[in-house]
């Protein structure tokens, strides 16, 4: 059946079997291979993309179910050569080794930062809302890194949260 998905703001159309998984649609049709196809059983988190701002496992979602929703992949993070703060955090804190889990980790933790900032604004904490170590570890509990462990990943997320909080405060002052 003909499916048109909104991936990173672009409409992508293709005739697919209903059983086509979102992860394969993303990798095959627009050729966005940043989204990794890992365990295929919704356990490893390498395939995480955002659907309407929420992280979801694209190996356990049918492409046809995503029509009418906004899909965002890891390729959307960098804009005009400028890395997203979460990417900068992973770079600064050396939060990857082989990099296989990284796209899923980035999309999962990008969503955590957005959610924490929104909650901070709603709760009056403004730009100071930084996720705690426990909140970060809970957020990535569905994502597996088989290289190095999670310490640097947690550090990277805190780095990015602090960077964004400092930027937001700077903007409010100026």
């Amino acid at each position: 059946m003909q499916v048109t998905l909104n991936i990173n703001g672009q409409a992508v159309s293709r005739d697919v079997e209903p059983r086509t998984l979102l992860v394969h649609f993303i990798r095959d049709t627009p050729g966005l291979t940043g989204t990794h196809w890992g365990c295929d059983t919704s356990n490893c988190g390498a395939c995480v993309v955002q659907m309407d701002g929420q992280p979801v496992k694209s190996c356990t979602t049918l492409a046809v179910m995503c029509e009418g929703h906004e899909i965002r992949t890891v390729e959307s993070l960098e804009v005009d050569g400028k890395l997203d703060p979460i990417q900068m955090g992973f770079h600064e804190m050396h939060a990857l080794h082989c990099g296989f889990c990284t796209p899923g980790m980035l999309m999962t933790t990008r969503a955590l930062l957005d959610e924490t900032a929104a909650r901070g604004r709603a709760g009056g904490a403004g730009g100071d809302a930084i996720p705690s170590e426990e909140e970060i570890r809970t957020a990535i509990s569905g994502a597996i890194c088989r290289c190095t462990g999670y310490k640097n990943i947690v550090g990277a997320v805190r780095w990015a949260a602090q960077y964004e909080a400092a930027n937001r405060q700077g903007q409010e002052v100026s």
Partner: protein, 293 residues
């Protein structure tokens, strides 16, 4: 590469339309919501529906509503919504206890209460939660609705009372007026997202310092969710206390029927079921008494 067998797909635009399609496909169609239980089963070819009916657009099935005498939860309500609900935190804290340990946060963004209950996996948490709090479910078919209690809902492993041409639309939890009522869920798992080694759900209704009623149910220690009716009977009419809760734990350990697997041998799982029952009863009672104070 794991791929489901071929099927046809439609998006439902109404509950009645979804039911009409189920009837038309005569047992060969399945409802899909979050898909985080069904799609893995389809990839393994343990499920091979010929037709999928996607109900994700049916916003009318997604709600948590508080009434004077009951709470109603729509079948399409997602785990993440159950976890963060203020109404449930206040009235039924057992849901947040369970939701914190169901799968992982990314899966919780998609999975739904209706899907979890209909999957009827013996290790699934919400089935024991709903059993302990004496919930009932609304099942709708072409001829109308029927409401059945959770202890009639589980027919066998992965089999529920929902018929081929029917769908689960709502979960109803009674709130007994007078006295105080609370609930708790305890689970031990090896890592996030794994099946439980064992889990226990408990609810207590306390009136005038006495347990007026209680509910105890267990996950992952039998072929289906285990309703420990003998523990509930032992608690009824007694004053809450540690000795009583330990007795209820002993009964739970006796009345479950775990199998040995990579998660542990039978005696360990029985022991765990007992300890978790005692702990869940203790927490539920402390919460209920706090409410009374």
């Amino acid at each position: 590469m794991q791929t489901p067998a071929p099927f046809t797909y439609e998006r439902a635009t109404s509950v009645d339309g979804a039911i009409a399609s189920l009837v038309k496909h005569d047992g060969e169609a399945r409802i899909i919501a979050g898909g985080h239980s069904l799609l893995p089963m389809m990839k393994l070819r343990l499920a091979q529906p010929e037709h999928l009916i996607d109900i994700n657009d049916l916003g009318e099935l997604s709600y948590i509503r508080e009434f004077a005498d009951e709470i109603r939860i729509g079948a399409l309500t997602r785990h993440v919504e159950l976890l963060h609900s203020d109404v449930l935190a206040r009235r039924l804290p057992i849901f947040a206890d369970a939701e914190r340990v169901i799968a992982d946060p990314v899966v919780r963004n998609r999975g739904t209460i209706g899907g979890s209950l209909c999957q009827a996996d013996a290790a699934e948490d919400l089935s024991s939660v709903c059993s302990a709090i004496h919930a009932s479910v609304v099942i709708r078919g072409a001829d109308g609705e029927r409401v059945i209690a959770m202890d009639e809902f589980h027919v066998g492993p992965y089999v529920t009372a929902v018929g081929d041409g029917e769908m689960l639309t709502e979960v109803r939890v009674p709130l007994t007026p007078g006295g105080s009522f609370s609930s708790a869920h305890e689970k031990v798992e090896r890592r996030a997202g794994d099946w439980a080694i064992a889990a226990a759900s408990a609810a207590v209704w306390i009136d005038g310092g006495t347990i007026a009623d209680a509910g105890v149910a267990l996950s992952a220690v039998g072929p289906t969710t285990v309703h420990v009716t003998r523990a509930a009977e032992a608690l009824r009419g007694k004053s809450p206390g540690d000795e009583l809760f330990e007795e209820a734990g002993r009964i739970a350990a006796e009345d479950c029927s775990p199998s040995a697997d990579g998660r542990g041998p039978v005696d360990y799982k029985r022991h765990l079921a007992g300890v978790l029952t005692t702990r869940a009863l203790r927490t539920a009672t402390a919460r209920a008494l706090q409410q009374e104070a």
